[in-house]
Amino acid sequence: MKAPTAACLPPSEGESAVCITPTKNPPTHLKKNPQVPTLMTVQPVPEWCRQAGVMAPNQYMASRFEACGNWEYTLRVTQTQNGVTTVTGVMEFTVTGFHYGSQNLPTVAHQVTIIPSSMTGTAVGTTAVGTASCSTNCTNGTTSFGTQVLQTGQAASGEFFYNTTATAAGSVGATGSTWNLTLKAPTSSAASTLTSVSAAVRCDTAVPGISSTGCVVPGITPYINYDGATWGGFGAHVKAAQLSGLPGALGGLPLHRLTDTALRDANRAKACPTSLPRPAGYSCDEYPFASTIEGAYTGGGTARTLPWCQVALQGTPSTGPTGYSVCMIDANTNSAAGSVLNSALFVPKRVINGDAFNVHIS
């Protein structure tokens, strides 16, 4: 989530102005936020967001469906008289922005919280009011941030909901939301506005096999974990293939989903052609998966295998990051692994065509 921004101009003669700047050196120790009161629909900020403490501007923490940030600001009320500008009041405060979507809903929530940690002089009694709007491919829902008088240690919150318009089957829509918070000190005629922009959000109705719409934080790459002890030959093949340089391992270059049926069939047919005999009870396993852009046909390169795979390859085996690995593994395990890739990763994390993901064998 981008840090709020505000313009700061010195007040005119005789005038008072309000100016907000990011606190230059946010404290490194964890800030414990006061309890966020349950104002109607405002949800408690997740523990992992509180634990993250204060972040640098433009920094946020996120998971596949949520993003959260805490930023510290200083508001100064100034007065200019006889050509001299003095600070008459100071408010130190934290802004927390938290937005979340769902695996199977077209709606996103974006809530914002202001908590002053100190208020002095003419900053006492500063009020806050907020409006919010969504960016693209969306329609605005309800906003609730009526004018609130800020008090030290107390949370002033607002919530905003919006809906994606990417609800037709196959549609994808980049979106996001912005809060505009207006802070006004009682003695000042002027007010200052903070703008708090969400992390990028992506809504889609483009996950094969389900008809729901859902919204993710696309900057987060999801992964699936297969327990090595349970997944036998499948786990061993994937692990060895990744160790040989092929992409997809956790911490390395990801794989990217491919949904085009003809291309997936081509990937499968190249890696596991009719010419490779399948021993009884075994089926052909390929890595990178046929359902990825890195697969045998779309990813290019040549085959490689392992001594225990019961695969006889022609020509020189490939090495490094380009190519594909082929292995005969237990047919039941192979089928189940593909089913789980879909039901534990592609569907719940909304991995659509082109989305990155990693595969980990533990």
């Binding site: 096999g209 389900i210 192979n334």
Partner: protein, 168 residues
């Protein structure tokens, strides 16, 4: 209820699954906030049957019945029965990761325990291969019945014997 008829789903990963997706929430804002507390319910998913082919089109005739039909073993190679507790929602069938073929809506009063008999033919024609045309045929018969263990009535093809031995 699931609509009887002839369907052409795509198999993948040597499987065809039955998926039932819940009806979308009436109030998405309320549902979104509820999702914070309890997490999101996944669609119901079960393996309807395994195929010989790795992936490709198959022919599937679905018959929704009131009572168990007489088995017609001589017409098919492999026949087995499983039970499933079907929830209400939108039913569809197809292989993992595929676009699914819609089968109809299961209403609230139609949800419950069903017995499913699957009859298959052609599973040894292109085992573990990608096919462009239909080489395997299936008959899926379902009727209301309390849950009981899987039962193999016939296993003639090599693929049929392999999958029959591994029925959950």
């Amino acid at each position: 209820m699931i609509i009887s008829g002839v369907y052409a789903p795509r198999a993948a990963e040597q499987a065809v699954e039955l998926v039932v997706e819940p009806v979308p929430a009436a109030d998405p804002v309320v549902a979104l906030q509820a999702s914070r507390a309890g997490g999101t319910q996944q669609p119901f998913r079960t393996t309807l049957f395994h195929t010989g082919i790795s992936s490709g089109p198959i022919s599937m005739t679905v018959n929704v019945l009131d009572a168990p039909p007489e088995p017609a073993l001589e017409e098919w190679e492999d026949v087995h029965e499983v039970s499933a507790s079907l929830p209400a929602g939108r039913a569809a069938a197809g292989g993992p990761m595929e676009e699914l073929t819609a089968l109809g809506a299961i209403e609230d009063d139609e949800s419950g325990d069903y017995r499913i008999r699957v009859s298959a033919a052609g599973r040894d024609r292109a085992p573990d291969l990608v096919t462009a045309t239909v080489v395997e045929h299936y008959l899926v018969q379902l009727w209301p019945e309390s849950v009981s263990p899987p039962r193999v009535l016939s296993a003639v093809s090599e693929q049929g014997k392999y999958w029959a031995a591994r029925l959950a």
